[in-house]
Symmetry: C2
Subunit: 456 residues, 2 copies
């Protein structure tokens, strides 16, 4: 079988693949610091050259920030887009690193060999898994497996300021049948995982006002409205005794988990006790009829992220403040509409205001949940390929946070995305001593080869 | 009648009484600022000399701070102690004064003549009403009306640091049958009033903790306990829908207002709409079956004076904080026991903590309510005297705040106190352009003469 030949080639060439990754890791492409702008350009050029060596028509495309690497190659089969990012996080505090963050080294660790360097896991090591799979494929087959577009960003760690304009300006060129995004991890370090649900986010800030000035509680206490009390009462009412959110129409667009996904999640045997115990907790605080995994992956939330009002310094002041404030956010799932929810939340708060109280709103960000199109056959192909490589069934998992790129591909290119990656929880991304397990790099490359064999 | 002679003497000698008050007002006895320490001593000496001119055995008694003026004189009748304070508030911002705060002047105003100077109302003008009444009495009768102790403090505006030690160290010397305290005002500027109820105060600060560190709401939102949510829920539960406080045993020691007092308060025709409207409010926020006057004078409160937790800066951060904080205070009435309430409050909060949450307490001040002994015949005598002078029934009123001296006299000397005074709401005490109405000074002196005639 030719796949076996490709996999054997990957195994055989692992030292050379590692050398190439080391070369890329030596370039300090910190996107947020203008001092490293030339290094970002150098990393982009390095990738362009590498892609050209694979037969791609590749170029570094200028933006107001750092360049986008775009490459086209291959013919036939499905048209796939691969996304990764070549920029990395800053390295401070440098004193906490065991060695120069940009002098990569293969090190022994209790759990096996690790590649130690800034960007080893996030995202240079991960993006190179795909390129190395293509390299082996081409060496065996003499050609790329199918029509491919490679899209590598250089501003992911600094807010992606150029991304949306670039997607809009190059939509026809970039649109493919599906985007493969390699910037996520294994599930609990062992199980291959495809992220199919990303929670959205809605942020709101409110200021409640009552009296025209701060009052003395000796003079007015009892008779005057206290906006902290009103704010507490309203916010306390966001959840009922079972943890369910009480805002009207809040659950519009929230679906129950499909049985197939639920059974996959159960098979993951998520260690709820460890998940909570790691941060000093023991009892899940969300909806009582849900597991913690459901709570963080598939259920929406309402959280108070900040609250303040009255006297907060040392000592005591018997003030009845004129105003009180809170920042509230909602994690969204399924088809929840952020702007509709904003309206419902505001109306719900305003309906509860007592006489003499007013509210002022400040809108913070909103993004809908990301729900991947798992009916796209690439998903089941990926699940099979990953399961074969890792010897363990791959699962469709959720992600409690946001990875905006998947939503942007959908919004601006009308393209589905599939997120899979090989990071581990202890990779120390964004922290000192970042690493990527050699096993993850190796099996990551092999995983992509298996998937390409199925898709091509 | 000799009282008429005394009153006539007061009327006749008003210009001289005013001159004496002006002399005292020229001394900048700001107790909180060490630069004015010699001035405080000078004010004490001025009063000692004036009391000696009335035949008192008077002296300025040293303390670690400013001197206490103590004087004894007269014989027979009840032994009365009179309390006032000769120190004044600072004058900043000086630019807001229309003239030198220590260059007193009798000015015309739309409402009549006013004495303009720092301390004119608080408390030099008020304390001189009593001394001028004694002066007129002595001029007519040749002797003081009864056995008298005069006790004038010089640190009232700076926290009275020497007061309790001085009371303890001189209890036998200072104890009298009743203390007359002249540091309060007329009711709504017109009705003579005797303060018989002062609310007490209990302060508590609490920190709720859940996870061992701040968490990201993408990673943990829904599953992890949010201490702001817990704090809001608990604090929101301090009041039920009718405004009643729900803490168990909270109302222990709270009595209903006696009918006699209630009818006096009704007769005061308190302008609730103006009271609330002055600060932009219209609906009383306390217990729904109480009037605002009851709420602030005779009912206990639970107030959140400060709350903080999570991210409170600009923008937004989707943090689930590890802790949340609040400062809570209770205004106490009747026989409520502050330390018992502290225990009840803490137990009530702790019983509501969910799993994984802990609370840390910081105790702030506590003082019981002051309830004057209106069965002491001096009270009805004062009510009659005041009613005769002001042409309007005098009322027993409450005071929502604290005037600690009355409680100290009770605690350290076992002596009841009666608070009455002649200030008006627009006297600007503690503010620029303080004044005392000449009418208040004049009728205040006459009020004391009438009361002394009844008590002697």
């Amino acid at each position: 079988m030719t796949l076996d030949t490709v996999l054997a080639r990957i195994d055989d060439q692992l030292p050379q693949a590692l050398d190439r990754l080391m070369d890329l890791l030596r370039i300090p492409s910190i996107s947020t610091d203008p001092a490293f702008k030339p290094d970002c350009a150098r990393a982009a050029d390095w990738l362009v050259a590498d892609l050209q060596s694979l037969g791609f028509d590749a170029s570094a495309r200028p933006t107001p920030g750092h360049p986008m690497v775009v490459a086209h190659g291959g013919t036939g089969g499905p048209h796939l887009l691969f996304y990764g990012h070549y920029d990395v996080q800053p390295v401070d505090p440098l004193s906490l690193w065991d060695r120069d963050p940009f002098d990569p080294e293969l090190q022994d660790s209790p759990k096996g060999k690790v590649i130690r360097a800034r960007g080893a896991s996030d995202d240079k090591g991960q993006l190179m898994t795909f390129l190395e799979a293509l390299r082996a494929w081409k060496a065996v087959h003499g050609a790329l497996p199918c029509r491919l577009t490679i899209f590598l960003e250089g501003e992911e760690e600094s807010g992606s300021p150029s991304l949306i304009p670039f997607l809009k300006g190059n939509a026809d060129e970039l649109k493919a049948e599906i985007a493969l995004i390699c910037d996520t991890g294994l599930f609990q370090d062992t199980a291959p995982a495809i992220v199919t649900m990303l929670r959205g986010l809605l942020g709101e800030e409110l200021t409640l006002r009552a009296a025209t000035k701060d009052l003395h509680s000796g003079m007015y206490g009892g008779a005057a409205q206290n906006p902290i009390r009103v704010l507490s009462r309203i916010l306390a009412g966001m959840h009922d005794a079972t943890g369910r959110i009480t805002i009207p129409q809040f659950y519009d667009g929230v679906s129950e988990l499909p049985d197939a996904i639920r059974s996959q999640w159960q098979a993951l045997a998520f260690d709820h006790a460890r998940f909570l115990g790691d941060v000093g907790l023991s009892v899940p605080a969300g909806e009582q009829d849900r597991t913690p995994l459901e709570m963080i992956w598939s259920r929406p939330t309402a959280e108070i992220n900040g609250i303040w009002g009255g006297y907060t310094g040392d000592g005591f002041k018997t003030v009845l403040p004129a105003e009180a404030h809170a920042k509230v956010s909602f994690r969204l799932v399924g088809d929840q509409d952020p702007e509709a929810l904003r309206r419902h939340f505001r109306a719900w708060v305003e309906a509860q205001l007592p006489a003499d109280c007013s509210v002022e709103w400040k809108a913070h960000g909103n993004s809908p949940a990301g729900v991947m199109a798992i009916d796209n056959p690439a998903f089941e192909a990926a699940r099979a390929a990953l399961g074969e490589e890792w010897g363990r069934a791959a699962a469709y998992v959720g992600c409690g946070g946001s990875i905006p790129i998947a939503g942007y591909f959908k919004t601006y290119l009308g393209m589905d995305a599939m997120l899979l990656g090989f990071g581990r929880d202890d990779d120390q991304i964004h922290s000192p001593n970042e690493k990527y397990d050699l096993e993850c790099f190796h099996k990551g490359i092999r995983s992509w080869a298996r998937l390409l064999a199925k898709l091509a």
